[in-house]
């Protein structure tokens, strides 16, 4: 037993990745990260669009409600929101939400607020003249929206929305703290399990996690940059 451990310790620490199914486990963790981000993004984007349109309303009550919601979500650290939803709901209502579900709830609340603000910004950046000159050409309000306003809004919005998704992916690293086993937690488990065989495993494992995050987010932000450049006018 002792001999074996010494033997293993002589192996380079990086080889821990190829022990058993460690790398596949990390990929599985990454999948949890991506799944939570994507579900949250897919829900946040349509909800955010509705929220953004709601924020454009001139009604003072609508303005106040959306202001409070946006400020609340922005001021609260995401970790606090995660704790409130995960632990708070158990205490207050006796409901037991899984960590993953709590994470999705928090990310959707957050994503809806941020996306809504992006939509509001994009909509209000379209000058009034665009509506009027389209109307003067005989377009109906519906046609103006479809052919003039929405295409311009989307061009401004899509790069920003993509960046929001990368921010979401990065922020999922917080959900370790409510017990969700995602890529970071999987990495920690591997390090812990091999504490004696590979005492220096932390560096390669976190290094790999770094690259996993990087290669997930990098193409996404490249896409955002590309679209932004292409649609700049």
């Amino acid at each position: 037993m002792l001999v074996l451990a010494i033997d293993a310790a002589r192996e380079p620490a990086i080889s821990i990745l190829f022990r058993g199914n460690n790398f596949v486990r990390l990929l599985g963790g990454l999948w949890v990260t991506i799944r939570i981000s994507m579900i949250s993004a897919v829900l946040s984007i349509p909800l955010g669009i509705l929220f953004g349109i709601f924020m454009m309303r001139k009604n003072p009550a609508a303005k106040a409600v959306s202001r409070v919601y946006l400020d609340f979500i922005r001021i609260m650290p995401q970790l606090v929101l995660l704790f409130i939803v995960y632990f708070g709901t158990t205490r207050a209502f006796g409901i037991n939400l899984s960590g993953e579900l709590s994470a999705i709830i928090v990310f959707v609340l957050w994503g809806t607020a941020e996306m809504g603000d992006l939509v509001r910004g994009a909509l209000s950046s379209i000058p009034k003249h665009q509506y009027e000159s389209a109307a003067a050409l005989g377009m109906t309000p519906m046609e103006i929206n479809i052919y003039v306003i929405i295409p311009q809004t989307l061009r401004r919005l899509i790069p920003l929305a993509i960046n929001l998704i990368t921010r979401m992916i990065k922020t999922t690293s917080l959900i370790v703290l409510i017990g969700v086993v995602e890529v970071l937690k999987t990495g920690q488990q591997i390090i812990d399990a091999n504490r004696f065989a590979f005492p220096t495993a932390a560096l390669p494992i976190y290094g790999v996690i770094f690259f996993l995050y990087f290669f997930t987010c990098w193409p996404i932000s490249l896409l955002a940059k590309y679209l932004e450049k292409r649609w700049k006018n």
Binding site: P127, A136, L137, P141, E143, Q152
Partner: protein
Amino acid sequence: MAEVQLSIKNLHKSYDRLDVLKGVDLDVHKGEVVVLLGPSGCGKSTLLRCINGLETINEGTITLDGEVISGKSQAEMSKYRQKIGMVFQSYDLFPHKNIIDNITMAPRKVQGRDRVSAEKEARDLLARVGLLDKEKAFPRMLSGGQKQRVAIVRALEMHPEMMLFDEVTAALDPEMVREVLDVMLELAGQGLTMLIVTHEMAFARAIADRIIFMDGGHIVEQSDPETFFTHPKTDRAKEFLENFEFVARKRKNDSV
């Protein structure tokens, strides 16, 4: 005289508490070129915007070809707006579309015209204003004068019965004013009914069949351009024209 195309009766328009138009009556005949003059803030833009329903009016009626077009919903108004082309002071092309698509969008989407014939007509019109080589360009690549010429072409492609021009050269650099005014002069020569707001006095005098002078929410004076510029009847018109002479003289002195 030709038949009345546009008829405005007792038009009142106010913003909140500010009365801008206080009972305007105006008939525009088919093929007539009417130039609206008046001091800044007297309601010239407001009058044009009321005609094609961009502003809702408080009182009065607007009739186009014998059909009442005032007091309609936005959706209904879109039908009448196809007959009334309008070009604004600010360049208002659609930035996400190239020039030819800017021109053919409304004909295709609103009038259901097919792409090939809409584009062919657009090219003919672009050639007439000297911009045929810009059909694939985007608005951001054009100068102000070029954008305004495209805006005129875009309105013409809808085959309007009349055109409204609201200070279309006011935002242009001086050297680009001429190219836009020339296009308008050519249109006037072809018998298109036009209602023009401008601060270019020489142009007004050259193009107008009739000058309307507005002040304080009313039409104060109207006459043919020669009479208006040489023998204005009212003191307010005299004063208005003197101010312009002063500006012109001042410019001359500045440039010496």
